[in-house]
């Protein structure tokens, strides 16, 4: 809902980093319209806007946490708890997809560590059933390899059951599967399908041979731009219109009751840095 009726000022301490939890987006309106297979980030943008509305203006006192040492502002969503009941853990499948948005090398390792940690806390789980990584098209193979090695460690430690990649075409997937040092094969390759009458038959075949399932990808790869995030924060009174906040990574997660095919929870965690 447009928030033009709200006062645009909320008093938060000056922050250098931002963590935002959208909570369960399934309970609000949907953003996809007539063209279901167009890649979109509308859901994330709407979710961030809704969260800022509810957390900052939804009740008498704005809801956020501020960590002075790291100058970190955390905006939680208070509407519904995402914690999975322990007795339900075996009935659900937890899927996470990490969008790498910041190409700085030094952050690569901690992206995965941080993302997994945030999700474990949010959902109150130790393990994640499927973890998919999404790199933008210009990411170097060396960086992808590094990220994959970290994931393989989590897999070995039993934290992640299945690993997945995103938007790997026939050539990229073939090369990846042939890597000499590949320890854990991806179980999933999330791909986008333009037209159902022209499915990528070769890619599907390759997948069947190696146990990689082609699942549907409806997300834009650059799921959140600096412009979009800064504009949202500005509209909701967190920063001035001269401030830029760059998204570091976005984690999209969902919780699915397998034997009933019900999506119990779906949300995003957004981490960003204020640029000078």
């Amino acid at each position: 809902m447009p928030s033009q009726d709200y006062p645009k000022q909320v008093s938060v301490p000056e922050f250098k980093q931002l963590v935002l939890y959208t909570g369960n987006v399934m309970r609000n309106s949907i953003t996809s319209g007539k063209h279901w297979n167009t890649k979109s980030n509308a859901e994330l943008v709407q979710a961030i806007s809704d969260t800022l509305d509810t957390s900052l203006y939804g009740s008498d006192k704005p809801s956020f946490r501020y960590f002075t040492e790291s100058e970190l502002l955390e905006v939680p969503d208070l509407r519904l708890s995402s914690r999975i009941q322990p007795e339900d853990r075996n009935d659900v499948e937890v899927t996470a997809k990490l969008f790498y948005l910041d190409r700085c090398n030094e952050y690569q390792v901690s992206h995965i560590d941080k993302a997994i940690h945030h999700l474990q806390q949010l959902l109150n789980v130790n393990s994640i059933d499927t973890f998919i990584v999404s790199f933008d098209t210009e990411e170097s193979p060396a960086h992808i390899d590094k990220a994959w090695k970290d994931l393989e460690v989590y897999h070995e430690n039993g934290v992640i059951r299945k690993l997945g990649v995103s938007d790997f075409d026939l050539v990229t997937l073939t090369e990846f599967l042939n890597k000499k040092d590949l320890k854990v094969k991806p179980s999933i390759d999330q791909v986008h399908v333009d037209k159902c009458c022209s499915l990528p038959k070769d890619l599907i075949e390759l997948g069947k041979k190696h146990g990689v399932e082609m699942t549907f990808n409806g997300d834009t790869t650059e799921i959140l731009t600096t412009e979009a995030l800064s504009s949202l924060l500005n509209k909701h009174g967190l920063v001035t219109d001269k401030t830029n906040v760059k998204p570091r990574w976005v984690l999209k997660y969902n919780v699915f009751f397998n034997c009933r095919s019900v999506v119990a929870d779906k949300g995003y965690i957004v981490v960003g840095d204020v640029l000078n």
């Binding site: 309970r27 999933i188 009458c197 499915l199």
Partner: protein, 633 residues
Amino acid sequence: MGLLSLGTPLPWSEAKEFADHVRKHGIEQFLNIYHHQKNVQKQCLLWGDEIEYIVVKFNDKEKTTKLSLRAFDILEILEKPEHDWLEGITKDAPDALWRPEYGRYMIEGTPGEPYGATFRDLVGVEPNMKLRRKMAHAAMNPDEYAVTLVNYPRLGCPHELDPDHEPNGKACQSMFVPDEIINPHARFPTLTANIRRRRGSKVQINMPIYHDINTPKPFIDPTISWDRNLFDHDKEAKNGAALPDHIYMDAMAFGMGCCCLQITFQACNIDEGRRLYDQLAPVAPIMMALSANSPIYRGYLADVDARWNVISSSVDDRTPEERGLKPLANDRFVINKSRYDSIDSYLSNDATYKAKYDDIDLVYDQAIYDRLREDGVDDKLAKHVAHLFIRDPLVIFKELLDLDDKNSSDHFENLQSTNWQTMRFKPPPPNSSIGWRVEFRSMEVQLSDFENAAYSVFIVLLTRVILSFGLNFYIPLSKVDANMKTAHKRDAVLNEKFYFRKNVFTASQSSSRPGTPVEDDDEYELMTMNEIVNGKDNGFPGFVPLIHSYLNSTNIDIETRCKLSSYLSLISKRASGELLTGAAYIRQFVMNHPAYKKDSVVSSEITYDLVKRADQIAKGEYHPTELLGNFTA
């Protein structure tokens, strides 16, 4: 159709004496099941479809079709794999289960095993349906076909049966159909006769005729034997039962001889079952209009596209007192609906329910309600059951009067299975691991299995969407009933509007828009079918976009996603008018037929070509893109 016990059915005069006995024990049986099963949790989604077929005999040389009354013999062949498996003769579980239906020309098939919850299960529906059709044909003679028309267009016209019989049977006492049209199992003719005896007259069905340029106005049906005097009931037609400008029908066969597409699915617990029952109730009239496939009755083009009112009238056993035509003297209640009709009350205690949605008079048995309440059943469920039990049991078997209420549900099922509503809430059978189930009953069967699969899968996906998004479709029941009336109209999909809730998301309430009164959140409005199914800008997002959004939130492989999209696309295009409904296609076929005289008459010659076309479409030998679209996945 329900319960096929063995035994001697009581004639009405005797059955009436035992009505209270059956009701009383039926309630005890329900209570036993309820207490035993009310706390069962975590049941997985299992579901199934039921498709009914009409068996038609073709004579290609003479270009005629006749209804084949050989269903009994055909079923013996079809049911053999199930019998062999149950008796341990074979280890292979049957691929399909077959059951008789009301008409002696009808067979019903269901999948051998229920489908599961996965998306792979959903794409397995169409192959199973196609297999069933193949199996049905293999069990028939070479000149017989199983077609999934909602009704045989010339049912009730002379000499349309094989073997032929005159309409002079004592059970129906119809001017149009003989007793031999009814399934020979004792239950069906007894049901037929007892409905008539209880009502005190034949059932009275009148569907408006479609006035074409050569159709007489007023239309007084020349094919009615106005002066026949074989039975006392014969004079009803000329005494006003047969309305001018209408197609008059006078037997249960015209209704219960129709074919439907019914979906039953298991909920994870009783509360989810009750919630889905409520949320799907407003969807029932929408789906009937979308699946409309019955514009012809007794050889005439009608001005309606759907069959619900025909069936409703065909089993209406209410006496004149119950219908409010005479003051109450012998009967207990004035009842505003036939025992076959849309639901009369909501069932769920969900937080989104509000009392204002139950705005039609609910007639229920106070003593039964009190008994249920005193045994711990909540108000809504008690009213629901006490409402079903205002009806008399119509078929009672002498040998099965005294049952062990702890282990049998026959008396409960007696009433439960002869209340036919748009939704049915189904308690588990006693001593079974089957859970609480909900049956969606308003859809009309489609000509091809691609369509039947699409509509079935659509409903199942819609239930997943309701649960995943926490949707709220509540509108007052009076508006749901208004929608049922509208859904019958010719081309309702294109021309009519239906009441539908505006704001279906429970979380985004007025708290985020200060100043908005709470009442606004419950608003409903008239929407077109296109808006309801495909969405409205700044309004209801639409069933199909909701389903796509749900699928986008799962790990679904691209091949399955594309197959499901082809089903959603069919539904979407039927709603937008880009594709014809079955009813529109059939109507066009008749009106464009060279032998059609623009007088609403659907002759034998036209029927032969129509039924032949239906068969070709079902077999994939003819593909009308204006009906089926062009989906490659």
